[in-house]
């Protein structure tokens, strides 16, 4: 299909905007007509023709713009036809209603039937129908009633599988991605770029530029190329404003094209599947995946968003705050050494962090006159994974305070006063992997401690 000139499409895209004008005008005319029936108000009645004319003219403009938009070829022809003709009908009716209202046309046969009221009622119905067809074109035909209470049949349920290997790759792994990220624009009614994805046949057929994947070669597949482009690129898919595919989703699509030859029936068991893909697939399907090494993805806790103002305040107080992953609201917080000069102020400074207590994943308070008592504040940071307390006057009593930190994986206590008495407490921390205890009262002879919980924990005593 010949692509319409850009300027035509530019104008065409004003259709959804302009189309609301006739709706407003004509409904308002209808409202005035009703009011005029009950209330003989000349001013109201006089406004009716104006409302009708404005409605008719704006409907005409909307029709023209709509036609321009339809030239993009992004829409399914049948649905488009209906919207097109009902839209034109509505416009014609609007002009007719205006003409009759102005007594420019007189149809004697209709005189008894209150033509003004009748035509306006018809117009309202037509507007509703046109609008509905238009909405279906943009959002898909199941958009309106998808979540209606009486609608329960449309959701396709895939049978729950016992093992990963028997899963068919397309329906279990690929289609859900396409449905979630692509099909809002590539479906039965809306076919951007002439591409529809809701059936395997149409998906395989591709869009107006031909097939979107080449079985066995993701490198030559338009689908894969488009999702890999920089987000600002004009051809990047999904387009601006829609959620991009995640790395895992892209790797599933690539895997389907490369290893399963983009077949719609093949199961995971039938093709070569890397451990990594198995892991992603298992996560997607909420199946347990036995064997194979787990991916190096550390689970991140969910945390509430923190306002930039609060972060700014904490920075002014002396904390250095870094967001660990952009948009995660999870932070690496550190206090530069000797920010706390006397232990009287320590509590006061630390307490400010309580405002973001669930957001702190890594915390560095080294060399800051932190004492045993201050650690009660730190113990509230329930998502803490790494804690640096080195070179602070902390002893075994302080470690007792840290017991609530169930996510803690690494604790740095070098240059503190902890000793053997800390070990039973440290062994209670279920996630703990590493303890740094160089230059403390802990001696090599204290380890192994004999507590079997501690055999999993590496205690680094240093070279000297």
């Amino acid at each position: 299909m010949q692509e319409a000139p850009d300027f035509v499409l530019f104008l065409g895209r004003f259709h959804p905007l302009v189309v609301h004008l006739p709706i407003g005008f004509l409904l308002f005319a209808f409202l005035l007509e009703i009011l005029a029936k009950f209330q003989k108000n000349k001013a109201l009645t006089a406004a009716i023709p104006l409302a009708l004319l404005s409605g008719a003219i704006s409907a005409l403009v909307a029709c023209i713009l709509g036609y321009l938009l339809s030239l993009s070829g992004d829409y399914e022809a049948n649905m488009l036809d209906r919207h097109f003709w009902v839209g034109i009908g509505t416009t014609v009716m609007a002009f007719l209603a205006w003409a009759i209202r102005m007594d420019k046309i007189k149809i004697p046969a209709l005189q008894k039937l209150k033509p003004n009221m009748a035509l306006l009622t018809l117009l309202v119905i037509l507007i509703g129908v046109t609008g509905h067809y238009g909405g279906n074109l943009t959002h898909g035909s199941d958009y309106l009633v998808k979540y209606a209470p009486f609608n329960s049949s449309t959701k396709k349920e895939l049978p729950q599988l016992a093992s990963l290997e028997e899963a068919q790759i397309y329906p279990y792994l690929v289609e859900p991605i396409l449905a979630q990220k692509c099909m809002s624009c590539h479906n039965a009614s809306k076919q951007k770029g002439g591409l529809a994805m809701h059936t395997p046949t149409l998906l395989a057929k591709g869009g107006k530029n031909g097939p979107i994947f080449s079985a066995g070669s993701s490198a030559e597949s338009e689908l894969i190329r488009r999702v890999h482009l920089p987000e600002t690129h004009e051809e990047f898919m999904p387009p601006e404003g829609k959620t991009a595919l995640t790395e895992e989703e892209i790797s599933l699509l690539t895997y389907w094209i490369d290893h399963a030859d983009a077949d719609f029936e093949t199961t995971i068991a039938n093709v070569e599947t890397s451990e990594e893909i198995k892991q992603i697939a298992a996560n997607t399907m909420a199946l347990d995946f036995e064997g194979g090494k787990a991916m190096a993805t550390t689970k991140l806790p969910e945390a509430a968003t923190v306002s930039p103002e609060l972060l700014h305040e904490l920075s002014v107080a002396g904390f250095r705050i870094r967001e660990l992953v952009i948009g995660s609201s999870l932070f690496d917080v550190s206090l530069p050494p000797n920010t706390i000069s006397s232990n009287e102020t320590a509590k006061q400074i630390l307490e400010q962090l309580v405002l973001i207590k669930a957001n702190i994943i890594r915390l560095d308070l080294s060399e800051n006159n932190i004492t045993n008592d201050d650690l009660a504040i730190v113990s509230q940071f329930s998502n803490l994974q790494k804690l640096q307390l080195e070179k602070n006057p902390i002893g075994d009593q302080g470690i007792v305070q840290l017991m609530p930190l169930k996510q803690l994986e690494s604790i740095n206590l070098y240059g503190t006063n902890i000793g053997r008495a800390s070990l039973p407490h440290l062994s209670q921390l279920s996630s703990l992997k590493t303890v740094y205890a160089w230059q403390t009262n802990l001696k090599p002879a204290d380890i192994p401690f004999g507590d079997k919980n501690l055999t999993e924990v590496k205690i680094v005593l240093g070279a000297l």
């Binding site: 002014v316 705050i321 590493t434 740094y436 000297l464």
Partner: protein, 501 residues
């Protein structure tokens, strides 16, 4: 007076004097086009008009700056990196890549099936034959990981369980300058930003009182030259270039106050200068003006921070003993390792050491022995020291050169002497610390350490992996320059996931 003056009017009396020197013609020519174009640009796309501008406020103290590049993309394992660059191309055959099978092939010509017509350097291409020179070094396995290490690295052999060896490194370049430029910037030609500059640009500073990227070079070494472009910023904003610290009285040149100037009004002078530069920047919109301002401020802060961090007097004797006797002599490799640790402790993000002299074309055994004596103990000490301080888990340590060396002897081969030429097709590097598998060896070469037979790791892959450890998707950290987007890995590079812990 003309109307144009209103736009540039400052409330500072002295600046107003300067402004009076602007006449109408000057104003119109200088501003109409520039400001007009800028205004038009921002109309079209308000955010993109400044898209390549670094965040000049990022170095301001005490304020939270959200990363404007959308980084990190994923959870970073590494917070800092120290890159121990062994310039010249250390011989993998005499250090790490143990090849017992060629012991019996002493002096035999290298089979053509191994070399496969590969182009050699002009230094050995004209040789009549390519006699195989097995390493005369004694190799043993160490640690729980049973890693092979030669007798030249006794200290390193103690820490192999913390190291992750890559024996299958590959580069595209066979001569020093393109190879080292490729290793540091991802391209063989000068002009691209170095790794450290990319990290500084992407992730910003963790300590606004010190540069994000610092370079230390072993003093009194000869060998292949090192150029400041190896730690340069390329087309990235200037404040991201590496700052070289020197040994001796002035670690950073021109930082100390001149004689007979007490520096008391420095702050006032800089504030004044800042205002002038602001006016200039408002007029021209040149980001280099902001970069310059940021650097003046950095230099001012470094007047205090640098003497503090380079002061070794608070280091106890047992630390000097750990790094070796050399570490008491500023500017040696060992002293630089110790200095690097201090810089890393202050949250400098990227410290790069350069040690020249690994280019053993002749007299390889003797030359490499001397090189190891200068570096081995300090390498091991650095790992141990970082580990006991709890820093190894978020500090990435990298050891390696720009390429490896040939199995055949360049020049005459005798029972205990040989030379080795450059070899780009296979060499060994090691990493340690943040996010890489400890006690692990990856990749294999053939019996001649000539071709990679398993799991090749190209320089681009190494860069991609390094960025990954810092939470960066190497394909998504780009900078638009001269009409196209550039990245460290250009259009290549795969993260080597097998190396990640």
């Amino acid at each position: 007076m003309c109307n144009g003056h209103d736009t540039l009017k400052s409330n500072n009396k002295d600046l107003q004097e300067v402004e009076k020197q602007w006449d109408r013609r000057n104003f119109l020519t200088k501003t109409s086009l520039g400001l007009g174009a800028l205004a038009f640009g921002s109309l079209l796309n308000s955010e993109k008009a400044w898209s390549n501008l670094s965040n000049p406020g990022a170095t301001t103290t005490n304020s939270f700056i959200k990363n404007h590049l959308g980084l990190p993309h994923h959870l970073p394992k590494a917070k800092r990196i120290i890159y121990l660059f062994q310039s010249g191309g250390p011989s993998q055959l005499d250090l790490w890549d143990y090849k017992p099978k060629i012991k019996d092939m002493f002096g035999q010509d290298l089979p053509e099936s191994v070399r496969q017509g590969q182009r050699l350097t002009a230094m050995s291409a004209l040789q009549e034959n390519f006699p195989i020179a097995p390493s005369i070094m004694d190799f043993k396995q160490y640690g729980e990981s049973r890693a092979w290490v030669s007798e030249l690295m006794p200290y390193t052999s103690e820490i192999v369980d913390d190291l992750c060896f890559i024996k299958s490194m590959q580069t595209d370049q066979i001569n020093h300058d393109p190879a080292i430029t490729f290793m540091q910037t991802g391209n063989q030609l000068p002009g691209r930003p170095s790794m450290g500059a990319w990290l500084s640009y992407g992730l910003g500073s963790d300590n606004e009182n010190l540069p994000t990227f610092i370079t230390l070079i072993t003093k009194n070494m000869t060998g292949q030259p090192l150029y400041s472009r190896l730690w340069g910023n390329g087309f990235l904003p200037t404040e991201h270039q590496g700052v070289q610290f020197r040994s001796g009285k002035d670690p950073v040149l021109y930082l100390s106050d001149p004689e007979n100037y007490d520096g008391n009004d420095r702050r006032k002078m800089l504030d004044y200068l800042g205002k002038l530069n602001d006016v200039q920047h408002d007029t021209y919109g040149d980001p280099e003006i902001q970069a310059r301002m940021a650097q003046y401020e950095m230099a001012f802060r470094m007047q205090t921070s640098v003497p503090e961090v380079t002061d070794m007097s608070d280091e106890p004797d047992y630390i000097f003993d750990l790094y070796g006797e050399d570490s008491r002599d500023p500017g040696t490799y060992a002293a630089n390792c110790l200095m690097a640790r201090k810089l890393l402790e202050k949250d400098v993000k990227f410290v790069q050491l350069y040690h020249q002299g690994w280019d053993q074309h002749i007299g390889c055994p003797e030359g490499i022995r001397a090189q190891c004596k200068r570096t081995d103990q300090a390498n091991a000490a650095l790992i141990k020291d970082l580990k006991q301080r709890g820093m190894l888990e978020d500090t990435l340590v990298v050891w390696g050169g720009e390429f490896g060396r040939t199995v055949y002897s360049q020049g005459q081969l005798t029972q205990n002497d040989y030379g080795r030429d450059h070899h780009p097709k296979a060499f060994t590097m090691w990493m340690a610390g943040a996010g890489v598998k400890p006690g692990f060896t990856y990749g294999e070469t053939d019996d001649f350490s000539y071709n990679v037979v398993k799991d090749p790791v190209h320089v681009h892959d190494f860069h991609a992996t390094l960025m990954h450890l810092f939470g960066i998707d190497h394909e998504r950290l780009t900078f638009k320059h001269q009409g196209r987007r550039f990245r460290l890995t250009d259009v290549h590079g795969h993260v080597v996931k097998d190396l990640l812990s």
